[in-house]
């Protein structure tokens, strides 16, 4: 099995990845505090009706964030 590092926004609803890194410093700090840490599995659940924001399942709860924010989250996905 191969794995690739992609943006969280490239995951389709239902797909799961592992958080690899968070790029933007502010967003990183916020997400870290909320338990979105490197190594945590993350699943894309649903997009808001207009495509943004997106709801993800992480650390056993549902988090909503905008696509522009999710773009900063790199995930490891097995292909």
């Amino acid at each position: 099995m191969e794995s690739a590092i992609i943006k969280l926004t490239e995951l389709k609803p239902g797909q799961t990845g592992i958080i690899h890194a968070i790029m933007n410093a502010d967003i990183k700090l916020k997400l870290y505090e909320m338990g979105c840490l490197p190594g945590e599995p993350v699943q894309v659940l649903i997009h808001a009706p207009l495509g943004c924001p997106v709801a993800i399942k992480v650390a056993n709860y549902v988090l909503s964030l905008r696509l522009s924010e999710a773009d900063n989250v790199l995930v490891l996905m097995e292909t």
């Binding site: 410093a25 700090l29 338990g35 924001p53 056993n60 709860y61 988090l63």
Partner: protein
């Protein structure tokens, strides 16, 4: 030690059930105020406990805003930081009760570990234990207690399960600090020592947090102290960017213990029902349709359901006023009481049902978790007009009252989005306008029913609200064209699990808001009502004497119709009273809108609070008549001076309603905006902008309709 007061702070993540626990502990003994200097809501309450030796312990409980961390990034977090890190703060607690959502234990333990490191004795409450159990998971409280060195209890606050245990734990409250979790090795001991020499610091971690964020601690507002701190930080080459590291370290520590804290790690619990509901409530079309339907139900409820208790109040109060008028000795005092105080009081009481229903609705939406979904589906739309998904809740809150709603905008972290939200928010029709709409709609819109249940009056009410919303959208768009964004805006927010709303939470919210309305707004309303009675009962003495003389002559004639003459006399007196003079001065300005001097008086007094309109009308129309008809009937009977047609026709009614939709007639809102933004610029702009909108739209409506 028989009567000691113990200061306890409640702290926890958002959606951890903190407010439910607060309500359960304090009951109705709670007060809502602000933290000093900022408009972050501070809820405090007191209660007493008996410990095992039978000694009485007074507890002063402070509910801190929900937060994920102690780092003061947003205003809410700043308050939590100030209370817990500054030993000189008036709310600095003897004990911190950390409330954890049992299904999000790791995240809660992260915050808990920070509080523990401040060396404040901690009592950890693991809430929502029902959900944990439902997922066939067990939490080893003993293990957590051992690792952190703190007391741990479990509870299910929603089902009122575990309160005795919590009270018992508080009665035997912890006095020792827990174990230090995160040893701030990167923090220089020399710097720490230098700080500890000058300031009272509870722990190394507290000094670390303060060194990072000293500008939020009150003592550093003094130039000397700030200078001292700056020099010290410079001297020791203190670098500020260790927060990410610390967060990772703390989580690493907690994660290493998670297998011993939680058994059956597969916390794949039954949250999937939430996901199924989300699929419907955030559906492309269905999501918005449901949201609109919810709003529709909301307005229909307010208008139709509230009608019964309102009619009851109205009848009861009229009867009471007649009784007072007839049974107390006639004279000036009787008039003051009946036409001044009671008229104003009636104007307040009658709207309690509507306000209570409205807040019950909002509380239901919030408590069930639906409000967060509303933000979720509205974010992109709101961003389109330069706002934020988080603006939706304050804007909907604005339907109740702009004052708390503007205070609620602090959850919007982006400064520009927050300012724009505050600016446009008073355009939303608040509950103070509701009495005005209700009265005017009842006056000029026929009570027709369509298809058996569509109430035309309810529909017009909905339209009034929609006009307000439209004004918000258009105004925000215009502002977006002129003010550009500098700061990044965020929408990182938890979507809480759907829960059946808790009735006690709803009731406490309704109780709080009704109390604020009756006592805070009520005070102003009664005061204005009395001032108005004085203004409308007295006038320049020469003129008044002349009227008295003139009518005394008429009354002296044997064939005089006493009642008719008295009425005309009162009408004359009102017209020449101080209020009448003021209203008349205003009349040329407002005549193009279809308003007469009586409405002019109401516009002046409405500046205190919009609902005073109704009280003013009651007072104006009760002065000069000797029966106790409701204000609606009196206004209905009012004739146009020139045409002898009913004065309150469609054109005047609509024009007046539009005026109230737009005009900034609320000194409390202006005051709160000044406080939230720190300058008079925004309130002055709002006043002018909304005033122009009101005048313009009323002018167009009246000229077009009449």
């Amino acid at each position: 030690m028989s009567n000691k007061t113990l200061k306890v702070a409640l702290i926890g993540n958002p959606n951890s059930g903190k407010s439910t626990i607060f309500n359960l502990l304090t009951g109705l003994h709670q007060k809502v105020a602000n933290f000093p200097g900022v408009t972050v809501e501070k809820k405090t309450g007191t209660f007493s406990l008996k410990n095992t030796e039978g000694a009485v312990l007074q507890i002063a409980l402070t509910d801190l805003p929900g937060t994920y961390s102690l780092y003061p990034k947003a205003l809410d977090e700043r308050v939590t930081f100030q209370v817990l890190c500054d030993k000189m703060h008036s709310n600095y607690p003897d004990v911190a009760v950390v409330v954890a959502d049992g299904t999000n234990l790791k995240r809660a333990l992260f915050l808990c570990s920070q509080v523990v490191d401040l060396s404040i004795p901690v009592l950890l409450v693991i809430n929502m234990i029902d959900l944990v159990n439902a997922a066939q998971t067990t939490i080893d409280t003993k293990a957590i207690s051992d690792v952190f060195g703190i007391d741990v209890i479990c509870m299910d606050a929603r089902n009122n399960d575990g309160i005795p245990a919590l009270k018992k734990a508080l009665a035997n409250y912890p006095t020792k600090a827990g174990k230090t979790i995160f040893n701030q090795q990167l923090f220089m001991p020399e710097l720490n020592e230098a700080l500890a020499k000058r300031y009272q610091l509870s722990s190394d971690y507290a000094s670390f947090l303060i060194a990072n964020n000293y500008k939020y601690i009150s003592v550093f507002k003094e130039e000397n102290e700030a200078g001292f701190m700056k020099d010290l930080l410079l001297q020791y080459n203190f670098e500020q960017s260790l927060q990410g590291n610390e967060t990772l370290e703390r989580y690493k520590f907690i994660s290493s213990y998670m297998p011993s804290f939680v058994h059956n790690q597969a916390l794949e619990n039954k949250k999937s029902y939430s996901y199924k509901i989300d699929k419907i409530l955030t559906h492309k079309i269905g999501g918005y349709a449901i949201f609109l339907f919810v709003l529709f139900i909301l307005f229909q409820t307010i208008f139709t359901l509230a009608q019964y208790p309102m009619d009851f109040f109205d009848n009861w109060f009229s009867a009471f006023s007649i009784w007072v008028a007839d049974n107390l000795p006639a004279g000036l005092l009787n008039n003051l009481l009946v036409d001044g105080v009671l008229a104003g009081l009636g104007g307040i009481l009658i709207f309690i049902p509507q306000i209570a229903l409205l807040f019950a609705f909002i509380a239901l939406l919030e408590d069930s978790g639906y409000m967060a979904r509303v933000s979720f589906i509205m974010d992109k739309l709101m961003r389109g007009i330069g706002l934020n998904g988080r603006s939706v809740i304050p804007l909907i809150g604005g339907v109740a009252c702009a004052v708390p709603a503007i205070m609620g905008t602090r959850t919007i972290q982006n400064w520009r989005e927050r300012m724009v939200t505050i600016f446009v928010l008073p355009l939303i029709s608040c509950s103070a306008r509701l009495p005005v709409y209700a009265l005017l709609i009842a006056l000029v819109i026929p009570p027709v029913k369509w298809f058996g249940f569509f109430n035309l009056q309810g529909l017009v009410l909905l339209v009034m609200y929609l006009i307000g919303f439209a004004a918000v959208v258009i105004s925000a768009l215009v502002i977006k064209l002129f003010i550009k964004d500098k700061q990044p805006s965020y929408f990182i927010m938890e979507l809480p699990v759907y829960r059946v709303p808790q009735w006690s939470n709803v009731l406490y919210m309704v109780w709080d808001k009704v109390k604020v309305f009756v006592f805070d707004a009520g005070k102003i309303i009664i005061a204005i009502s009395i001032i108005l009675w004085v203004l409308s009962s007295f006038g320049p003495s020469l003129k008044m004497e002349n009227i008295d003389k003139q009518f005394a002559l008429q009354l002296a004639q044997p064939q005089a119709d006493t009642a008719a003459v008295t009425n005309t006399m009162h009408a004359h007196k009102l017209e020449h009273s101080y209020a009448g003079i003021m209203g008349k001065k205003l009349e040329p300005l407002i005549a193009p809108l279809g308003f007469d001097w009586k409405i002019g008086i109401a516009l002046i007094t409405s500046f205190a609070a919009r609902e005073v309109f109704v009280g003013t009308m009651s007072t104006i129309y009760s002065v000069g008549t000797d029966n106790m008809l409701s204000v609606k009937a009196k206004m209905q009977a009012e004739k146009n001076r020139h045409t002898q047609q009913p004065f309150y026709n469609m054109a005047v009614g609509v024009s007046l309603m539009l005026f109230y939709v737009f005009a900034m007639q609320c000194m409390s809102t202006l005051a709160i905006v000044k406080r939230e933004t720190g300058s008079w610029l925004l309130p002055v702009l709002q006043f002018v902008y909304m005033g122009l909108l009101a005048y313009g739209s009323s002018f167009i409506a009246y000229q077009w309709l009449s």
